[in-house]
Symmetry: C3
Subunit: 383 residues, 3 copies
C-alpha cells in the first residue's frame, strides 16, 4: 500500500480523502529520488537550480539522490564542524560549476553527478590538514581539486560506460591520493599528517571496549562524510532514511559487517572506535543491497558478502597505502562494488541497468511492475 | 597417424584391429582434453561430476585441462606435503562449489575454470604461513579466499572478454596479495613471513653451484604449484606430459629461460636453487608455445621471448612488491601472456580464438584441418 | 597566405612566380608532417627508408612527425653527449627494426610509431647509469628494452584503440620502470643511481635563484629527450618549431606552467633548475594544444589546465615512485593526456579522430576546410 502510493505521488495527490493520507502524500513527495522537483524547478532562477543540483550532489556521497537529504547532511556537517561544512559546500559548488562551464551533459549535472566527488575531495583535504581549521589558503587546493575531479569524472565515464558501470568515487580517490602525494608530509604550505594503517604496530595492548565498538557502527555511516561525531552521524543516517529506509538499514548492516571484519584481523582499536573499519563495508552493502541490484534475499546475501569483501579490501589497501603514509579512503568499496556489478552468472539477472537505477524501494516496484507487464503482455499475445 | 587417431577417438575406438592399436586408443582416451569423458559423466552422480570438475581445475593451474593429470598433480602435492595437499583439495572444492552456488555458466564450471584460482590461493596461504602445518584455523581464510576468487573470476571475465582474453590467474594474484596485506606481518591470528625480493642484499658471497641451478629448472615447474621438492615436481611434469608432451617441453624450456634471466641480473642464489626464478618463465612459455597460439617456429621463438619477458618482469615485480614484504606470485607471467595475446601484426594470425583452444597437439591439428577445409572450400567455389 | 601555400605545396610549386615564393615553397616542403616525402621515398633503398622512419621516430618523442626535425634533434643529442646520441640512435633503430621483423602494420612503421618508445628507453637507460659513459655492456639492455617496447606498443594498441586513444609513451614508461626494478640499486652489472623525489627532505635552505628557474623553462623542453644542456635544448626547440611553431610555443608555455606548479608546492630547487618540473607540463600542453584537439581559445585554456594537471601529477607520481627509488619519467603527462582525450561534454567536439591528426597548423586548416565543406554541402542541399 505504502509503495503503491509512493510510486505515483501525482496520482495520489489528486484525490486526498483524509488528513492522514494528505500528510502521507506530502511525505511521499520528499522521499525517494524526488523526480517531481526537477519538473518544478525547470523555469526557476539558475542560482536556485544550482542549489538543488548541489544538494543532490551532497546526498550522492552516500549513494542517495534526494536534495532534502542533501540539505540535512550538510546541516550535519556544519553541526560537526562549521569549517568542514564550509569546505564541503565550496567543494560541491566548485565541481558542479566546473561541470556547467565545461559543458557536461545537463541531465547528469542536474542529477548531482558532478558534485559528490568534489565535495569528498574538499572534506578529506580538510580532515587531513595539519594547519588547523580556518586555514584559508586551503581553499586554493580545495577549489583546484574539486575542479580536477570533474575532469576525471568526465574522462572515466566513456571507459566505464562500456560495461555500464558507474564512475562512482574513483575521481575523488585519485585526486585525493595525488594531492597527498604532491604535497608530501613535509610541505611548508599544505602540511598534512601521515595516515596510520589499521594493522600498524604497536599491537593493541589495551582491552577492547565493547560499547565503543558498538558506537563505531553508526559512526561508520558518518565516516562516509569524513565525520567522526555521533550526533551528526545519526542525523546523516536519518537523512538517508528519508531517501530510502532500506538503504539506511543496509548502511548500518554494512558498517557492522565492516567492524566484524576489522575485529577478525585484529586492527587498531581506534579504527573500530572511530568507525573507520565500517564505512567501506557500509558503502559496499548499500550499493549492492537494493541500489544497483533489485532487493531480494539473494542480493541481500550478496550485499553482506560485498560488505565483507569491501571491509577486508579496505584493510588491505590501507595497509598498502599506509606504507607511504596515504589513506585508502573509499577505494576498496568502489573497486568491490564495481567488481560485483561485473558479476556474470545467475546473479547478474538481478542487476539493474544504470539508466534505470532509482531508490531501492522504487527499484523493487519498477521491477515487479515490469515483470507483471511482461507477463500480461505474454498473456495478451496468447490471446 | 598418432594425431589422426587422437583427434577422433570415438571413430577409432569403434574398429580396433590389433592389441597395440587397442592399447594406443586407450592411451589416446586419457591424453589431451579428454572431452569424451564429459559426455560419459553427464548422467552420473553430482559428487562424481564435482570430482571431475575439481580435477580439471587442479590441472588448469599449469594450463592443462585433463582430469587424470589433475589427479596425478594432486598426488604429487600430497607426496610433497599432506597438509598442502589437503589445503589444495579444500581450495579447489570450495571455489568450484561457490561457482555452482553462484549459478555460473555450467560449461565453464565443468571445464574446471572456477577451480584453479581457489586452489592456488589455498596453496599459497599454506606456504606463506608462519604458524606451521596443521594449523586448522587457516581453513577459514582458505575457504573465504577460494570463494572470493570466484567472485573475481566472474567479475573480470566481462572486461577481458572484450579482447577475447582469458581471466587466467589474475583472481588468485589479487586475492593472495589482498590477504597478505590484510593480515600484515604481525597478525596475531594468521602470521606470515615477509617475502624476500630476489635482488635483496646482502649480495651473493658464496660460489654459485651449477648442479643446484640445473636442479632448479624442474623445480620451477613444481613451483607453479608452490611445491619445492624434486620428486613431486617431476611427477607434475609427467602428469603434464600426459596432457600434452609439447606443453611439458615448453614448461621445462621456459623454466630454463627464467633461470638464465635470473642469472643475468644476479638474483639471490636461493631464487635459482628453489626454482623461484623459473616458474614465471615456464608459465609464459607454455601459454604462448602451442596453447593460445598454434605451434610453429615463429610462435616457438615468441614463446622464448615471452619466457624471458615473464622472468624479467617477475624479478622486477618481486623487487617492487618485496619492498612491502609481498611476493609477486605469478602476476608477471599472467600480465606478459595477456600482452602477448594482444599482439597485433603478422603474429596475431597464429593466435587461436579462446573458444577453440585445446591441447597444443589438438590445436595444431584443428588448424591444419581448418586450413585444408578452407582451401577445399575455395576450390569447390571455383568449380 | 602562409597557411594557404603550405597546405597545397604541390599546387604552389607548379607555378612559382618569384624567388621569394620559390624559397618559401621549399620551406613549406620541410615543415609539418612532410607527407610528400613518403611518396618520394617509396621506391628507394630499404636502408634509406629505414633512416627516414627512424628520424620520424626521433621527432615523435616530442610529439612531432617530421624527419628533418628528427635529424636536428639527433644532432642536438650528439652535441649534448655523443654517448647519449649513440644510445638514442641504437634504440630507435632497434625498435624500428624489431617492428619490421614482427610484421607490424607498415603504415605505422613508416610513420615512426615504433621508434620513439625504444629511443626513450635507451636514452633513460643511459642517463640512469652509474657505470659512466661508454660502458658498452649497456647496449645489451638497451637493445632488449627497445625491442620489448615494440611488444608493449603492439599489445597496448588494441586496448587503447577501443577509445581511439594513442599508445603514446606508455610502453617506454613500463619498460624503463621494469628495467630499474629488475636491476635494483645494487646490481653488479647494471648499477643505477636512486631517483630523488622532488619533495624529498632536506628542505630547501638556499635562496631560489630566479635566473636559474627561468633557464629551467627551455631546459624542460630538452628534458623530454633526457637532455639537460641549454644549447641542445634550444636546438630541439628550434627543430620543433620547424615542424610546427604553434607546438613549439605550447612546449615553452607548458614548461613554464610546470615550473609554476613546482614552485607552488615547494619542490627541490634542482627540479626547477634542471627543467625536471617542466617537461611533463610541456608534453601535456603540446598534446592538447593543437595536436589532438583543434586549436581554439577553449582548447588553449584546456591545454594550460592539462599542463598544470600533468605537472602536479608528475610531482605526485615522482614522490610515490621515489619511495622505491624510481623516476616517474613521463607517466604523468601520458596519463593526463589520455584522460583529456577521453573528456566528454562540449570540449569533446574539438577533439580530432586519431587517424586525422597532423601538425597543429594543418589540423586547424583541415577543420576549417571540412567545416566550410559541410556548410557548403548544407547550402547545396537547401537548393
Amino acid at each position: 500500500m505504502w509503495m503503491e502510493t509512493k510510486a505515483d505521488p501525482q496520482d495520489a495527490s489528486r484525490k486526498p480523502t483524509s488528513t492522514i493520507q494528505r500528510l502521507m502524500n506530502s511525505l511521499m513527495m520528499v522521499t525517494g529520488d524526488m523526480e517531481s522537483l526537477d519538473k518544478y524547478m525547470q523555469d526557476k532562477w539558475f542560482i536556485l537550480q544550482l542549489a538543488v543540483w548541489a544538494c543532490r550532489g551532497v546526498s550522492r556521497v552516500i549513494l542517495a539522490n534526494n536534495p532534502l537529504s542533501g540539505v540535512l547532511m550538510l546541516v550535519a556537517l556544519y553541526w560537526a564542524s562549521p569549517w568542514q561544512g564550509l569546505l564541503g559546500t565550496v567543494g560541491v559548488m566548485t565541481s558542479t560549476l566546473t561541470a556547467v562551464i565545461l559543458g557536461q551533459d545537463s541531465a547528469e549535472v542536474c542529477a548531482g553527478l558532478y558534485g559528490f566527488n568534489g565535495m569528498l575531495v574538499s572534506l578529506l583535504m580538510g580532515v587531513f590538514n595539519a594547519a588547523g581549521d580556518w586555514y584559508w589558503w586551503l581553499l586554493l587546493p580545495v577549489c583546484l581539486g574539486a575542479a580536477t575531479s570533474v575532469f576525471l569524472f568526465s574522462g572515466f565515464s566513456p571507459v566505464l560506460d562500456r560495461w555500464d558501470l558507474p564512475v562512482a568515487v574513483f575521481p575523488f580517490n585519485v585526486v585525493i591520493i595525488l594531492y597527498f602525494l604532491c604535497t608530501g608530509p613535509n610541505n611548508p604550505y599544505f602540511p598534512h599528517p601521515v595516515a596510520i594503517p589499521p594493522s600498524s604496530p604497536p599491537p593493541n595492548i589495551t582491552e577492547l571496549i565493547t560499547s565503543e565498538v558498538l558506537r563505531g557502527i553508526p559512526l561508520g555511516v558518518g565516516q562516509i562524510f569524513a565525520c567522526g561525531a555521533l550526533g551528526p552521524s545519526l542525523l546523516i543516517l536519518g537523512a538517508l532514511c528519508l531517501y530510502s529506509p532500506l538503504q539506511a538499514l543496509h548502511a548500518l548492516l554494512g558498517s557492522a559487517v565492516g567492524t566484524l571484519a576489522g575485529l577478525s584481523v585484529a586492527v587498531r582499536h581506534e579504527s573500530l572506535y572511530w568507525g573507520l573499519s565500517g564505512f567501506n563495508g557500509a558503502l559496499g552493502c548499500m550499493a549492492v543491497g537494493g541500489l544497483f541490484f533489485t532487493f531480494s534475499w539473494r542480493t541481500h546475501l550478496l550485499a553482506i558478502a560485498c560488505a565483507f569483501l569491501s571491509a577486508y579490501s579496505d584493510i588491505a589497501l590501507s595497509n598498502l597505502l599506509g606504507t607511504v603514509g596515504l589513506p585508502a579512503c573509499s577505494l576498496a568499496a568502489t573497486l568491490t562494488t564495481t567488481l560485483m556489478m561485473l558479476l556474470t552468472g545467475s546473479l547478474a539477472a538481478h542487476r539493474l541497468p544504470l539508466a534505470r537505477v532509482r531508490a531501492p524501494e522504487q527499484n523493487l516496484r519498477s521491477r515487479s511492475r515490469w515483470e507483471a507487464g511482461s507477463t500480461a503482455e505474454g498473456e495478451s499475445t496468447d490471446v
